[in-house]
């Protein structure tokens, strides 16, 4: 660090470069703001091109010689394949409505984190090479040469976008930065420029069926621990099955729920619920991942990973599918799966065997969200619930980006939570539902090395949680997303100490009165429940 004698001089440090416009400020890789480069082994596992060892801060990224050609060719191809891409390249008027809608911009103040400018990073290249005006007038028409600096800038900022779509809600033309980021990352992947936090899980998921790389026997042994815990808490022994042919329902959850807490508590919640209602269902070790980090890589990789779900449903001969609590998983299931790997004509339209409700809204994919399923059970009075067992919690609900803006499942989880908890408080209006703020770690950015980025990006969310903590004493942040369950605990720990994070079905499990259960003295975390005043036998 240079010597900085007086505070006044310190304040004179001007981070703004001389005004030359954003196009000419080369990217500066700041520590804590990016993830580590992908390893060649991970890329080789899924046959990605140009797999090699490289490092972000190296001057030379060892790019293939014809990298420019590859990029421009890839852009051309995608302009022809995606109306979204072509349209979003053409019609932005740079009104700036999206500028202050991005959590990364709100948390960093870095102008290139404004969605419009993030898009302009690639749009400027589009104008230079794919429009007449850009070809003729170049910079005057907003065009920009594709250089190594530009490519590095793409990499830095496309991996600083969590594809949350919040900008798209406010854009008068519905321009969706997530779409542009996805295509941008897809192009970078042609040059082997992924991050290991995504590439590793993708390779795992392809070979072993889940991001964490849990092998079938490990999955089973993990479940055995959870089953033991459930028995300890409730006195009921649940008995989930794996890869069982002839079950009525295949259940697919994000693998994060099978491994790390607090996801495991949610996973225990799934099992207890299904056990209690006697659902004929099976887990699969082959399709043991609901999430899809391929989606953060390329359309093709996402499809390759996603294919396992229908394939397994068909192999096992189930009638329909339930999906667990996960954010981007549901964007994929809702908007992509059927298109990629359907039609699922070997399945039946989901009908709840308990309530008889036919889920017409999943008439084609034959897959429903567990919040839909549970909300329907509660509405029909099929669950015996004791919400007072969550009385030690004051709960608020964080809408996940993908489920709110790429699906619209907003009221189902709220209905469930309000039925299993007595203390529920919404965060402020501008920060929930379709306007929800990202956890700051979505789209595969929940690595450790980019913690500063995550903390900054998550700040708007944390700030709203802090508000309900101060005003309502909220101490539990509920959600329906595995990445949230992994990313929000450190976020809360830093910004809002005292607030814990739970999946919705953990709260359901706390409240669920099971047949033959013993009197509960512990919640799902094996923590003692506060003494109740008076007997509240159910």
């Amino acid at each position: 660090m240079a010597k900085k004698p007086t505070p006044e001089e310190l304040s004179k440090i001007n981070y703004s470069l001389p005004y030359t416009g954003w196009m000419y400020n080369p990217v500066e890789f700041k520590d804590g703001m990016f993830c580590n480069a992908s390893k060649p082994e991970s890329l080789n596992t899924v046959d990605f091109p140009n797999a090699r060892k490289w490092s972000v801060k190296d001057e030379d990224w060892n790019l293939p010689e014809n990298w420019k050609e590859i990029v421009l060719e890839a852009m051309k191809e995608r302009l022809e394949k995606y109306r979204s891409f072509r349209l979003f390249m053409d019609i932005c008027v740079r009104c700036g409505a999206c500028a202050d809608k991005c959590h990364f911009f709100l948390g960093t103040g870095d102008p290139k984190n404004m969605p419009v400018l993030r898009a302009e990073l690639i749009r400027s290249v589009y104008r230079r090479y794919f429009t007449k005006s850009g070809q003729m007038l170049g910079n005057l028409a907003g065009g920009r040469e594709l250089t190594l600096d530009v490519l590095k800038e793409w990499w830095y900022y496309f991996y600083q976008c969590s594809e949350c779509r919040r900008c798209s809600v406010f854009c008068p033309y519905g321009i969706d930065q997530a779409e542009i980021t996805m295509i941008g990352r897809e192009i970078l992947n042609l040059l082997g420029l992924n991050i290991e936090w995504i590439a590793g899980p993708v390779a795992n998921c392809f070979m072993k069926g889940n991001h964490l790389g849990l092998e079938p026997h490990t999955i089973k042994s993990n479940f055995e621990f959870m089953i033991d815990d459930i028995e300890e808490i409730t006195g009921v022994k649940v008995d989930p099955s794996f890869n069982r042919k002839g079950a009525e329902v295949l259940f697919v959850a994000p693998s994060g729920d099978m491994f790390g807490d607090p996801g495991t508590y949610t996973c225990m919640g799934y099992m207890m619920l299904f056990h209690e209602i006697g659902l004929d269902y099976t887990w699969s070790t082959y399709a043991s991942e609901g999430g899809n980090f391929g989606f953060f890589t390329s359309n093709e990789m996402a499809k390759r990973l996603n294919s396992k779900i229908y394939a397994e449903a068909q192999r096992l001969g189930v009638k329909w599918i339930i999906g667990g609590e996960c954010g981007h998983m549901w964007r994929v299931m809702h908007q992509y799966m059927d298109t990629w790997n359907g039609p699922a004509d070997f399945l039946e339209v989901p009908v709840s065997p308990i309530t008889g409700t036919k889920f017409e809204n999943a008439g084609s994919t034959k897959m429903i969200h567990i919040a839909e399923f549970t909300a329907d059970l509660i509405k029909h009075g099929k669950l015996n619930l004791d919400p007072s067992r969550n009385d030690h919690l004051k709960v608020t609900f964080h809408d996940s980006c993908n489920t709110s803006r790429g699906m619209g499942i907003l009221d189902e989880p709220r209905y469930v939570i309000k039925n299993v908890c007595n203390n529920f408080h919404e965060m402020p209006e501008d920060t929930i539902r379709e306007k929800t703020f990202c956890c700051g770690s979505g789209s595969g950015l929940n690595a450790s090395e980019n913690m500063e980025l995550r903390l900054r990006g998550g700040f708007p969310r944390a700030n709203a949680v802090k508000h309900v903590q101060q005003h309502h004493g909220v101490n539990m942040l509920a959600n329906i997303c595995a990445i949230d369950r992994a990313a929000l605990p450190p976020l809360m720990n830093y910004w809002v100490p005292g607030v814990d994070v739970a999946g919705m079905h953990e709260l359901v499990a706390n409240a669920l009165v099971m047949k033959g259960e013993k009197e509960r003295t512990q919640d799902m975390r094996l923590e003692d429940l506060p003494e109740k005043e008076g007997a509240e036998d159910v």
Partner: protein
Amino acid sequence: MLWSRQAPEAQELPEAEMKTKMNGDDMATKLNDILRKKKPAILKRWLDAISATYSGEAAAFLKGQKNQFTGPMGYTIQEGLEGLVDGLIDEAPFEEIAPYLESIIKIRAVQDFSPSQAVAFIFHLKKIISEESQNTSDAQGVADAAALTAFELKIDTLALISFDLYMEARDKIYQLKSNESRDMVFRLLQKERRLLEMQEQGLEQGPNTETPILK
């Protein structure tokens, strides 16, 4: 919490100033009155100073953020600065002021600042206060030098606290980072161990002690 411990003393008052301490209370009140009137100007200058540590676009953006939820960074910083100024003028105890300081420091601790840059904004206040208190057309005249020195000492104390808060925040970040890595390695080790156990003992029984994956 840090500020519940005793606030560090910046330094003992020099003896010469001790003499003026007799009528110090009056003087301090007078200074506080002047500063209270000047609060909007002080806040504006201080916000300008802290904004200047960000890039041009970010600075303008920061100052424009007034909404608590849609502009949380600007709001938090502005709210924090105001809380600090109010606290100093009203001679609130440090434990009441510290949360405002903490909310600002936490933000700066995750941004691209060196430690000194992150906390330097505290010192700007000294200059602003001294200029604003001298530059008054108030009938009461300029503030007493001793009262001003005493006020500045409070700012120094604040600066010392802010170093602690900054370090606490950075420690927390490292801790979060290492926790995540540790958890991952830990789980892998657990997995390996469990594998061995299973190979040795056959598969039906898991270890019936505590449940490692849930830790």
